[in-house]
Structures are given as structure tokens and as C-alpha cells.
């Protein structure tokens, strides 16, 4: 030890030689400020991350830079990884990315830890006599495969359930859906069911597509921003960069939420509502808008159908009734309505707080109706900015890893199966032969072939195992969870019962997950180590519909494998590998990712996933810095005039060069430049009324009126048929814009600046849904009996997605006296989803070490609960969880909030001993969904995890 002071001006000590190595200009570029300075674009083009002379002093080898995309949420933040000798040694900000401009939240800033992966599942394992035993991949595939073949023989293919993932990239998601089809079942689903399924159903049924209409970046143009059931400060932190840019330029920011969230802390106006009253608050706001004539009458007459019926319903929601139901007083609601009406364009953001209800589809349609009334859809700065959750939940939804559709939302009709069979290069009859050749009684009481019958959704797999009268030959006997957390589904005790009844559980995941430990089984559980998206490559769709291409950062750790290799191994075992990869090159069991992209490019006409070839996507990634950070258009450079990530629909073939669609339904641009109108999805007339657009069309359209979707007949009637090439004519004969594999119909329509999907009005009434006009209905477990009588739920259904589904019989029981508190849940910034991955990352886990509940001081004192003490939360269905109490005014009296990312505990017990050695997450806690209860959306089977009842007891 030298007891001398180091002289900072010692010439030999250059450790801080900033003055020499970096000048003022370089500082400006790197000082981490881009937004709100008015100089954003100049700050977006810093020099590449240069490793200065110092780099050579790091003894671990040359640095290779790999570019990927964060795997946590749907913002799509670019990740710049530095790799030395195959080891991920550094992470740098991706200043070039127009989506995040270098920024990361806690999760994004910690993704390098994926390269450590200490708590990962390291090799295939199975549970034998209560002990985890290592096995080889070959043995695992053979043993699991044999077991499944046995089940298939005895009970049919529907008795094996394939749970996919929003963590798969697009290519893997597509292959997963295809895999289930070839196994012969529609029992396939993924997280979107329990995240935004009610959005997709509600929104697509309003104006055509179910996705976010604008983009995070486009919010720069908003003059007002409304967030309902959305807490982006924790769920999509980097989006706040764009939101603040708008706010600092004068945009108003409103938050409607039962909790005073971290987002609400930054808002201009906060409206607290009782959980589960979204329709009531929206109609309450619209009441003021109609009362004052603030609606956009011209827009409504040209582009909206059914507003009069909405107006009639809204008339019931006068300020008194609105306050009675929502708890928000007249002045607060009026102020919110006024802010949205007076500041145009205004955007509307919603997330899980709105979707996860028995009336989720009513909520999402009410949001759409609100925006349509104000004329905010199809405009810059407006839109329904539906923030998706996981990094690729938009993509996995688009590829329909869903029990009710084939990729591209083609549905399950014979026509849909024929379309995809053709794309796959297979005989339709062969594909049909993979299914159990039988008809069962369908949801509507009529016989339906298993191939055309919606499968069991994620939210209900437990009932698929346990219920006696279901719409398939036998119950589910084997569950495969490929990148899925069971702690995100409700009704813990019944889930445990279902797990006990299964023949086999297969968990394919980088981490063991809650599923590996919550049951009491001693045998028949397999853990197969999948790698993360940083250990493979492919495309991923951000919430704004932009596709980004990830590079592989490192080789798969330990014995883990990419998901598409695992799928292929199973396909081989089951004997359909050749059909599975007919158009796809395979080497060492790995289907070539680029070939998968090219295959889906040939089939995804409905939503325009056809123009994004691997080459185009890669070129966009190489030229990220050339895109404008507000409009996302490339200004000069090799992809001049294209939008970042070719946001879908990117019409036609890649050769056609469509730039992508940055804002849906924006008539101010030509279709060729990314403009659109509302989709003609619901026919041309309804009840004798024209439902095509009137006096509204995309810029430059050769048809200056509404028109139906394009087909070979329409082209012929318009006299445009001969504009097809001979080859296109051959492919297009008898087809429409969705099924013409040549893309000719789309090409010709767009040449005339027409939207291939027609030009119609959006509709605010959906005559095929249980509630034609969105109405308020009380949750199944409601604290207010009077309102339950006035706004009752639906009647029980005998069969819905193959299962009996209860509504009225539950609501009829009064639990409100014994269980007086409302229970709700949400996200934390440090964790994601079921949380296993993020709780296994020490950099994140350290920041949130306890599962907790938020409780208002009044309720805490009323129940003898002290801050920081443990409490039991008990549900009316008899389940309970033990969590730490946090006393706060963030929640209103009568409301309990918990985060949903925890797992590894069950009803008060830490299950640490049940994990395979060395794989237990650093932080474990009670899964809140253990105590969440029954309740499913009336259209999509979304589970109701935002309102139930509970009581709190001090431990």
C-alpha cells in the first residue's frame, strides 16, 4: 500500500484523459439527450461505438458488435452487444435506433445478463421419483414423443396441448402454429389470449385490423394523450421518451386508472375509477362530448357506421349515473372529456387494465367509438395506440399462435386451410388427415369438424383437463409450455388439480418456470432448455407493427437449443418433418430462418406480411440511422422513402417495394405511400344501410367512393383485369386480395391507389357479438349488489371454445360481505410476465425482492395490518396468498393491488427445494393469480384478472 496521493496532473496517469480523447462536439453527441431539444435528428447520428485505443488493453480478444432487439417489451429497443471470443462482454446504447434512441429501462439495460444465465436450465431433465434427472436431447425427444403418440392413439391429437409464446420470434411463432396444424389440433395458443385478445377482437371488428394504429414515435404529434388501464412508466418505460416529447411541446396528458400510477404522477389530469368500469367512464365522457356537440360530425357521417346506437346508449350515462358506477365526479369527467375534445389530434392508449375483463371486448370497442366520435383515427398524432406487452406478442398474434385462427387471421374455415395448405406446398387432404376425423357438437350446438373448431384457449387449459363435458373426444392429457408462464393464469388450486391429472408436463424454456415447482407430482415432468432470442436470430414485430431483424449475439448457452430446432426435432419424431419443412432448407435439424420468412411472405396477404423479405429487413437494420424519429420515414440513403421496419401492411411482394404503413387508415397519403382507409370487412350493407365509406378515400384514389374488397371479379368489373401479367392472371383467377398468391390483385389495386381490402366505414356496433353496442356489465365478483342487479353479466354458456363457461351462476352468489375488498393486479418495471427470467437476473432481482400488495392506510388500519408485515389475501374461491403489505395512497380505500410477476411460492410456502439444483430464481414469491378467480370475456375467453374480490388478514 502506497500512502501517497495520486497526482491528477501526472503525465503518466491518463486514466481520465478526457480532454485528450474527446472534444466538445463528441460530448454533445453522447450526452444522452435527444428529445425535446429541437435538435433531435442531429443527435441521432453519432459515430459508431468506437473502442478507442484502450480496447486493445482488454485482454479478452477482439470485439465483434452484434445488433439485436430487447426481448422484454413491445417498444422494440435496439440492443448493441459487444462480443469477445464468443462471450457477451459489453452492452452499448443503440443511438441509431429510431424507436429507442439509445435508451433502455431497467430490463433493457440488463439484457447482457442473458449471456451469464447462471440460473438457467442447463440440460434436458425429467422428474423421476421426485428427483430431477439429467437426460440427453435424443432420449428426451424419444421419451416425450412416444408418450404423446400413445395419447394421440388413445385420445386423439386434441389431447396434447401446444402452448406457444410471444417470446418466439416471428419465424418460430409461424413454425409453432404450423407445427400444431401438422400434429392435427387447434389446441394451440399463447400469451396474447390473456393480454390483448379482447383488443384484437374488438378493434378488428370495428375498423378491420386489431393492432396499434399509429406508433410510439407518432405520439410526438399528439396534442392530448389519454391512458386508460395503461401504465407505460412501468410497462413500456422507453415509450415515455416519446410521450414526454409531446408533453413538453404542450400536449395534455390524462390518466384514467384505479391506481395513481407512476404514469399518473406525470399527468395533467388524473381520473380515479372503480376497477371494471371502463365502459361507464368512456360513455360518461362521451356524454359530455355529445351534450356539447364536440364530436366530429363530418368524420362520423363519412367514415363511421352505427354512431346513433352508441349515442342512445351514451344518453343513459349522465354525470350522476357515471359517478354512481365509476366513482368519478362530474367535474373530473367533464374536464377529461373537454381536454380530449379541445386538443386535437388526441391519441388514446390502453393496455391490460382495459382488456382483462369479462366485458373486455366491450371496453375496447367503447375506446374505439370514443376516438371515432372525435375523428381521431387515421390521423397523425391521433389513433388507438394500443401498447402490446411482450417483445413479439404482436408478431405471435399476427402469426396466430391462437386456437381460433391460422396465420394472418385467416380463421379456421376450409378456405383458410386450403390457402395455407397451398402455401405449405401440401395437399389439403393430407393436412386434414392429421386431425381426428370426427365431428363434435360445436359452440352453436351444430356439429363441427375438429379441424374447423376453435381450440381451448390459454386461459382455460385447466378446464380442458378437468371439465367433463367438452367439445372434443377426450380431455387434455399432455401440456407443452414452450415459453409460457403458468403463474399468469388464474385459479391456482384448480390448476394444481389439473397438473396432478395430466399424463405428462413438458416445459420448454430457458428457466424452469413456476410450472416446474407448483404441482405435487413426482414423475412425468420434463424440462427442455430453450435458448433466448439473443442466442438465435430472426425477425420481431414491435407494437407499432415494425419488423426488426435480430442478429445472433452468442451461441446457445449450455445444452440449450433455439425453439425452431426443438420443434423440428419433434416433427422428425412424429414423422412429418418433410412436410413441415417442404419449402425450407434444414441443416443439423435447424430450419433456415430466412426460408421460413420467405414462406410466410407467400401467404400472409391479409395483413401485408408479404413485402418484408429478409433482405429488406436486414437493409433497414443496417440503415437505422437514416430514419426520421417522428415519422419513421427514411430520409435519403438506400431505403429512402420507406418506413422503419416496413410496418404492416407492407403490401404485395417484396419486389413491389411498398414502404410499409406507418399509420393505419390515414387517407392523407396514397396507399402506395402507406396511406389507407377503413377495411371493408363486414360486407357492403347492413340492415339496408350502406356501410361503405362516403366522400372519403385515400389520396389519389381512382375510385372516389367507398368500395368492397378486391377480387378477380372486381378487377374485371372495373376493367383493370388486363393490367395483370399473364402469370398473375393464372394465379389470380377465382381469387381475391387475400388468396391470390401472385400478389397481382394487390399490385393492381395499389397502382390505382386503392386499398386492396376495400374502403368502408368503421362500425361502432358489432351485430355478431353478444353485446351489439358496448354496454357496462358488472364483474362476476362485484362488491356492489345493487349494480349487479342493474348491470348483470351474461347467462352461462354450455359450450364456448369447447368448454362450459359460467357467468350468471357465479354473479348470483353474494360474496361481498365476506370478501369486501376489490383485488386487482399489474406490472412492475423490473420484471416481466411470469417473471422467471427477470427474477433470475441478479441485476433486476436485487431491486424488487419481495412480493407485496398495495393497501390503502384506511384498509390497513381497519384490518390490523402494519407496513411491511405479511398478510394473507384470501379469495372467494378458497385460495389464498401470503404477501408483504405496502401501505400507500396509490390505491383507493377498498382496493388491493399486487404485481403479477412472482412465482415459486404456493399458498404461503416457498418452493425453493423443488427447483432443479442451481436454477431457483434469486427472488421468489407468491403468484397473485393463485388467488384470482373465475371469469372470461364473452368473445375471446380473456381471463378477468383486473377485478375480483378478496379479504385481507394480518398474519
Amino acid at each position: 500500500m502506497k500512502l501517497i496521493r495520486k497526482q491528477s496532473n501526472d503525465e503518466n496517469n491518463q486514466s481520465s484523459g478526457v480532454g485528450n480523447s474527446i472534444n466538445r462536439r463528441a460530448f454533445l453527441k453522447r450526452s444522452g439527450i435527444a428529445m425535446g431539444t429541437g435538435a433531435a435528428s442531429t443527435l441521432l447520428t453519432p459515430g459508431r461505438m468506437k473502442k478507442a485505443h484502450a480496447a486493445s488493453q482488454v485482454a479478452t480478444g477482439d470485439i465483434t458488435v452484434k445488433k439485436s432487439v430487447c426481448t422484454h417489451c413491445s417498444v422494440g429497443c435496439g440492443v448493441v452487444a459487444e462480443v469477445q471470443n464468443g462471450v457477451w462482454t459489453g452492452q452499448e446504447p443503440d443511438f441509431d435506433s429510431p424507436l429507442n434512441l439509445g435508451a433502455h429501462c431497467a430490463k433493457g439495460a440488463s439484457v447482457r445478463e442473458h449471456g451469464h444465465g447462471e440460473r438457467r436450465v442447463k440440460y434436458p431433465m425429467k422428474l423421476v421419483g421426485g428427483q430431477w434427472k439429467r437426460m440427453s436431447w435424443d432420449d428426451a425427444i424419444n421419451e416425450i414423443g412416444d408418450g404423446m403418440m400413445k395419447i394421440r392413439k388413445e385420445s386423439g391429437p386434441d389431447s396434447v396441448y401446444w402452448m406457444g409464446s410471444a417470446k418466439h420470434n416471428n419465424e418460430q411463432a409461424y413454425m409453432f402454429r404450423k407445427f400444431a396444424a401438422m400434429w392435427g389440433t387447434n389446441n394451440v395458443d399463447h400469451q396474447a389470449r390473456i393480454c390483448h385478445s379482447t383488443t384484437v377482437a374488438g378493434v378488428a371488428n370495428t375498423w378491420g385490423y386489431g393492432a396499434m394504429t399509429n406508433s410510439y414515435n407518432d405520439m410526438h404529434n399528439s396534442k392530448a394523450m389519454l391512458f386508460i388501464g395503461s401504465n407505460p412508466a412501468e410497462a413500456h418505460p422507453v415509450s415515455l421518451q416519446h410521450i414526454f416529447k409531446a408533453k413538453e411541446s404542450g400536449s395534455k396528458m390524462l390518466v384514467i386508472d384505479p391506481r395513481f400510477t407512476r404514469t399518473a404522477a406525470h399527468a395533467d389530469h388524473y381520473v380515479r375509477i372503480r376497477p371494471g368500469t371502463d365502459v361507464a367512464i368512456i360513455w360518461g365522457m362521451l356524454w359530455h362530448i355529445f351534450e356539447n356537440g364536440w364530436e366530429d360530425k363530418k368524420y362520423i357521417s363519412e367514415r363511421v357506421y352505427g354512431m346513433d346506437e352508441v349515442r342512445a346508449e351514451v344518453a343513459n350515462w349522465n354525470p350522476t349515473e357515471c359517478e354512481r358506477v365509476t366513482g368519478a365526479d362530474e367535474e373530473t369527467v367533464r374536464e377529461a372529456a373537454k381536454m380530449m375534445a379541445e386538443n386535437s389530434p388526441a391519441t388514446f392508449v390502453w393496455c391490460m387494465g382495459g382488456t382483462q375483463h369479462t366485458i373486455g371486448n366491450n371496453n375496447t370497442r367503447a375506446y374505439c367509438a370514443f376516438q371515432l366520435a372525435l375523428g381521431n383515427i387515421g390521423t397523425q398524432g391521433g389513433g388507438a395506440n394500443i401498447f402490446r406487452g411482450h417483445d413479439n406478442v404482436q408478431g405471435a398474434t399476427d402469426f396466430c399462435v391462437l386456437s381460433h385462427s391460422l396465420p394472418g387471421y385467416y380463421g379456421l374455415s376450409d378456405g383458410a386451410w386450403k390457402h395455407w395448405s397451398k402455401v405449405w406446398g401440401l395437399e389439403y387432404d393430407w393436412v386434414k388427415g392429421q386431425f381426428s376425423n370426427e365431428e363434435v357438437e360445436g359452440d352453436k350446438g351444430k356439429p363441427v369438424h375438429t379441424m374447423n373448431y376453435k381450440g381451448i384457449p390459454v386461459s382455460r387449459w385447466v378446464d380442458g383437463v378437468l371439465e367433463e363435458s367438452i367439445g372434443q373426444k377426450d380431455n387434455i392429457r399432455a401440456m407443452v409450455w414452450s415459453g409460457h408462464a403458468v403463474n399468469s393464469q388464474t385459479r391456482g388450486p384448480e390448476m394444481k388439480k389439473a397438473m396432478a391429472k395430466l399424463d405428462m408436463m413438458v416445459i420448454i424454456d430457458p428457466y424452469p418456470t413456476h410450472a416446474a415447482v407448483m404441482h405435487d407430482r413426482t414423475d412425468g415432468v420434463y424440462l427442455l432448455p430453450a435458448c433466448t432470442q439473443f442466442e438465435t436470430y430472426g425477425s420481431v414485430t414491435a407494437s407499432n407493427r415494425s419488423l426488426q431483424w435480430r442478429e445472433k449475439v452468442i451461441e446457445p448457452l449450455f445444452e440449450s437449443l433455439p425453439d425452431h430446432i426443438i420443434m423440428y426435432k419433434f416433427a422428425k419424431k412424429f414423422g412429418f418433418a418433410d412436410q413441415y419443412c417442404k419449402n425450407i432448407q434444414v441443416s443439423n435439424d435447424e430450419p433456415l430462418i430466412e426460408d421460413i420468412t420467405r414462406e410466410y411472405n407467400k401467404g400472409m396477404w391479409t395483413i401485408g406480411y408479404t413485402g418484408q423479405s429478409p433482405e429488406r429487413m436486414k437493409l433497414h437494420m443496417e440503415n437505422k440511422h437514416t430514419f426520421n424519429t417522428t415519422t419513421l420515414i427514411a430520409e435519403g440513403g438506400p431505403v429512402d422513402g420507406e418506413y422503419y421496419g416496413l410496418p404492416w401492411p407492407c403490401w404485395g411482394t417484396a419486389e413491389m417495394g411498398h414502404p410499409g404503413t406507418p399509420i393505419l387508415y390515414d387517407t392523407s397519403k396514397t396507399v402506395a405511400e402507406g396511406g389507407l382507409c377503413f377495411r371493408a370487412r363486414f360486407g357492403v350493407e347492413h340492415d339496408g344501410n350502406n356501410i361503405l365509406a362516403e366522400n372519403s378515400w385515400p389520396k389519389g384514389s381512382d375510385i372516389q367512393d367507398g368500395y368492397p374488397e378486391f377480387s378477380h371479379e372486381l378487377l374485371k368489373n372495373l376493367g383493370w383485369w388486363n393490367e395483370l401479367t399473364a402469370a398473375e392472371k393464372g394465379a389470380a383467377e377465382g381469387k381475391n386480395w387475400k388468396t391470390d398468391l401472385s400478389g397481382g390483385i394487390q399490385r393492381v389495386a395499389i397502382k390505382h391507389n386503392c386499398a386492396p381490402f376495400g374502403n368502408a366505414k368503421a362500425r361502432v356496433i358489432v351485430w355478431t357479438f353478444p353485446d351489439r353496442v358496448p354496454i357496462h356489465r358488472e364483474p362476476l365478483y362485484t362488491p356492489d349488489r345493487e349494480l349487479a342487479a342493474k348491470y348483470p353479466t351474461y347467462e352461462d354458456r354450455k359450450r364456448f371454445y369447447r368448454l362450459p363457461t359460467r357467468y350468471g351462476s357465479i354473479q348470483a352468489q353474494d360474496f361481498s360481505k365476506d370478501f369486501p375488498m376489490v383485488f386487482t393486479s399489474g406490472r412492475l418495471v423490473e420484471y416481466e410476465g411470469g417473471g422467471e427470467e427477470s427474477r433470475s437476473n441478479p441485476w433486476l432481482a436485487e431491486l424488487q425482492q419481495d412480493m407485496f400488495c398495495e393497501i390503502n392506510p384506511k384498509d390497513a388500519n381497519g384490518n390490523g395490518v402494519r407496513d411491511g408485515s405479511m398478510v394473507w389475501i384470501e379469495s372467494p374461491e378458497g385460495s389464498r396468498i401470503k404477501v408483504k403489505a405496502m401501505i400507500t395512497n396509490r390505491v383507493a380505500p377498498g382496493v388491493i393491488f399486487t404485481p403479477f410477476h412472482f412465482g415459486g411460492w404456493y399458498e404461503g410456502k416457498d418452493l425453493v427445494d423443488k427447483y432443479p439444483e442451481g436454477t431457483e430464481p434469486y427472488v421468489r414469491g407468491e403468484a397473485c393469480n393463485t388467488a384470482f378467480t373465475y371469469g372470461y370475456d364473452s368473445v375471446t375467453q380473456m381471463q378477468e384478472t383486473k377485478v375480483t374480490l378478496c379479504r385481507v388478514k394480518a398474519v
Binding site: M1, L3, R5, K6, S8, N13, Q14, S15, S16, G17, V18, G19, A26, F27, L28, R30, S31, G32, I33, T37, G38, A54, A55, Q57, V58, G90, Q91, E92, L101, G102, A103, H104, C105, A106, K107, G108, A109, S110, R112, E113, A233, E234, P237, V238, Q241, F244, K247, E248, G250, R262, A265, H266, V829, E830, P842, W843, L844, T888, N889, R890
Partner: protein, 198 residues
């Protein structure tokens, strides 16, 4: 000559902890040592504000004034570094620091990182170790400054709330931002200084 400073814009900080994990990532500091933390005032109440806090690299650093072994030094750029070879881990600096910046590892009090640990402005250590040599990284974390980069916490901040760099630059950027905000509320610091509430 540059004088390095941090500034956290409380109007933008959303307590996402990106800065905290960026620091963990870049410097691989052990569990329990937090060179940077986010502090939230009025949590869950109207007026809730968060700011990210680390060593502020004071011009007249109180830690240096009280250190019994005089292990602190200030670089030409105004970065306050401390020498872990000299440090005896007494904790006196933490008495003096107005920001609670000094950290002490939970275990192995005299291990490699066993003494006081704090934010280095991603400038490595003051000692004889070569820039970004394994020895320097092990003891102090990464030396981004030697590579012409700024601290990773600020470079990765999700909302660009946390600024780092030459104080002149930081002020220029912040001033421009404030002007752009027009009639928007100023930072809590501004309100406190001029008793303005809007």
C-alpha cells in the same frame, strides 16, 4: 477544461431503474452495492417525484475533506475518484457525503471490492492500472471515459432524464429543454428555489 457533472431532470425521471441496472451491467458491482439509486419522494401521492442519485463528483468533495488516509483525488475533468489501495473502508466518507453515495460490500469486507465503492463516472480508477485492464475493471469497473464515452447510466436513460457530461454541455441542453417546455412546471429544484408552484 471539462468539468464532468450529472443532472437528473425530475420532470422526466420515471423511476424505471434503467440507470441502476446499466451501472450494474457495465461495472458488474455485486449484489447490495448500488453506485446509483433512484429516490422517489411522495411515493404514490400527487406530486410524486423521482430522481436518480449517485456520487455527484463535488468540486470541493466533503468525502475527500474527511478521509483519514486521503484516498480521494479529482481528475482534470472534475471526476472524483478514490484509490482502493489506500482506502481502509472506515466509512467516514459516508458521514460526510450529502448524497449517500459511498457503498460498502455486504461480505468480504477486505476483498477486492471490500472497501468503499462508489460511482467513478465510468472512469475506472485513479491508480496505476492500465485503462480497462482486467485489474482496473476488477477493482473499479469499466473505464468508458478512456474510450471517449460517457457513463452508461446516462447514455441508457429511458427518458433522457439523466444527463452526464461536461457541465457546460449539460446546462446548455437542459436550458434548451426548459425553454421548450414553455409554461410547463419546472423542476422541483426550481420550485424550491423560487417558491413557485404551477
Amino acid at each position: 477544461m471539462a468539468r464532468m457533472k450529472f443532472l437528473c431532470d425530475a420532470e422526466r425521471c420515471i423511476e424505471c431503474n434503467g440507470c441502476v441496472t446499466a451501472c450494474k451491467n457495465e461495472n458488474e458491482v455485486p449484489w447490495g452495492v448500488n453506485r446509483r439509486r433512484v429516490i422517489t419522494l411522495g411515493d404514490g401521492e400527487s406530486g410524486e417525484k423521482s430522481i436518480s442519485v449517485a456520487c455527484m463528483h463535488c468540486t470541493d468533495a466533503p468525502c475527500a475533506a474527511v478521509c483519514p488516509v486521503d484516498c480521494f483525488s479529482t481528475t482534470d475533468d472534475g471526476i472524483v475518484l478514490h484509490d482502493k489501495d489506500l482506502c481502509i473502508g472506515c466509512g467516514y466518507c459516508s458521514y460526510a457525503c450529502p448524497f449517500g453515495a459511498p457503498q460498502y460490500p455486504q461480505k468480504e469486507a477486505f476483498g477486492v471490492r471490500g472497501k468503499m465503492d462508489k460511482c467513478t463516472f465510468c472512469a475506472g480508477g485513479p491508480g496505476d492500472e492500465d485503462n480497462n485492464s482486467p485489474a482496473e475493471i476488477e477493482k473499479y469497473g469499466r473505464n468508458r471515459i478512456a474510450e471517449g464515452k460517457l457513463p452508461l447510466c446516462a447514455e441508457m436513460c429511458s427518458t433522457k432524464a439523466l444527463l452526464a457530461g461536461d457541465s457546460d454541455m449539460v446546462s446548455d441542453i437542459y436550458r434548451e429543454r426548459i425553454l421548450n417546455r414553455g409554461g410547463r412546471p419546472q423542476t422541483w429544484g426550481w420550485e424550491t428555489a423560487y417558491n413557485k408552484t404551477s
